[in-house]
């Protein structure tokens, strides 16, 4: 927001529209939607206390902002909110024994090794 709010994305007036028509997409990439959906699905299944996740998210954002400030004078450039969410969720999954570091890396390598053009 260093250049001020983008008013083309922020209709100050006009009817409240459904999220899709709010002038901006809820998610910029499919993985952002997936990690959000996984987090909420687990929460609604009663698998963790929201505060546990929130504290991790706050820590991830704080760390990320420190990195950004060290790298550039423009504090909002390259801001990766959903990357912070993903980091927070990975920590939660590790702590709860859902995805330890080794298990996760093994699965990542397995997915990366898929041939190009694989079917999702």
């Amino acid at each position: 927001m260093t250049s001020g709010p983008d008013t083309t994305l922020l209709p100050a007036n006009g009817p409240a529209a459904p999220p899709r028509a709010n002038g901006e997409l809820v998610f910029d990439a499919p993985w952002q939607a997936r990690i959000f959906g996984a987090t909420v699905a687990l929460y609604e299944a009663g698998r963790f206390e929201w505060n546990d996740f929130q504290q991790r998210l706050i820590a991830a954002i704080t760390d990320h902002e420190a990195v950004i400030e060290a790298e550039t004078s423009d504090e909002s450039s390259g801001y990766d909110y959903w990357g912070c969410w993903l980091d927070a969720f990975r920590g939660l999954a590790d702590e709860n024994g859902w995805a330890g570091a080794t298990t996760l890396h093994d699965m990542e390598h397995q997915l990366e090794a898929r041939p190009a053009g694989h079917d999702h």
């Binding site: 994305l9 922020l10 529209a17 998610f27 990690i35």
Partner: protein, 199 residues
């Protein structure tokens, strides 16, 4: 966008990590991919500012509802069948000619999902989160909202358990309008407190 690597099929490591986490969770029977699909669809299509607009319009037309809403936001919002994650403890703050309220989450991105949906990008931006506390009038003016010098600005930080919703001032020109018509005038930004409702 620059590409350091020219591999056609190189994936975003965040996408790979997300997919790996989803697989591990599903393999353990903790969640299903269908449950994730349902939640994404819910937040992309159903949960959004229209819910908050219904709450505001009802408060504008029903003084008893307004009183209940200001006394116990969570319960009054639930009367309209609205609730869910990030709406467990709702506090509604009322704008008046003397007081203007605006909400923020200084530490992360806490936001009242059931009434406003997911937050816009600027709400999560470090600049908004720090500046609206430090210099609220300046930030609001950048949104096109200039406040009278005599108006007190209250900034509500949603970082704790409480989620806030701003009850905007009803435009004077809407006398006699019904709830449905009024709901169409209520914007997300007005319910965050970065805009006024003009009619």
């Amino acid at each position: 966008m620059t590409h350091e690597h020219e591999h056609e099929h190189e994936h975003d490591p965040r996408a790979i990590r997300t997919e790996a986490l989803e697989r591990l969770l599903v393999d353990q029977g903790l969640i299903t991919s269908a449950a994730i699909d349902t939640i994404i669809e819910r937040y992309e299509t159903d949960v959004g500012p229209l819910n908050g607009a219904r709450v505001v319009a009802k408060a504008w037309t029903d003084p008893e509802y307004r009183a209940r809403l200001l006394a116990d936001g969570t319960t009054a919002i639930a009367e309209l069948g609205i609730g869910g994650p990030q709406g467990e403890k709702m506090v509604v703050v009322e704008n008046t000619p003397a007081v203007h309220n605006v909400i923020v989450c200084t530490l992360c991105s806490c936001y009242p999902w059931p009434v406003l949906g997911l937050p816009p990008a600027w709400y999560k931006d470090p600049a908004y989160r720090s500046r609206v506390v430090r210099e609220p009038r300046k930030v609001l003016s950048e949104f096109g909202l200039t406040l009278d010098d005599n108006t007190e600005v209250r900034v509500w930080d949603s970082s704790a358990e409480i989620r806030y919703l701003v009850l905007p001032e009803r435009p004077a020109s809407t006398t006699g309008a019904d709830e449905r018509t009024l709901a169409e005038l209520v914007t997300r930004d007005a319910m965050i407190g970065v805009a006024r409702i003009d009619a």
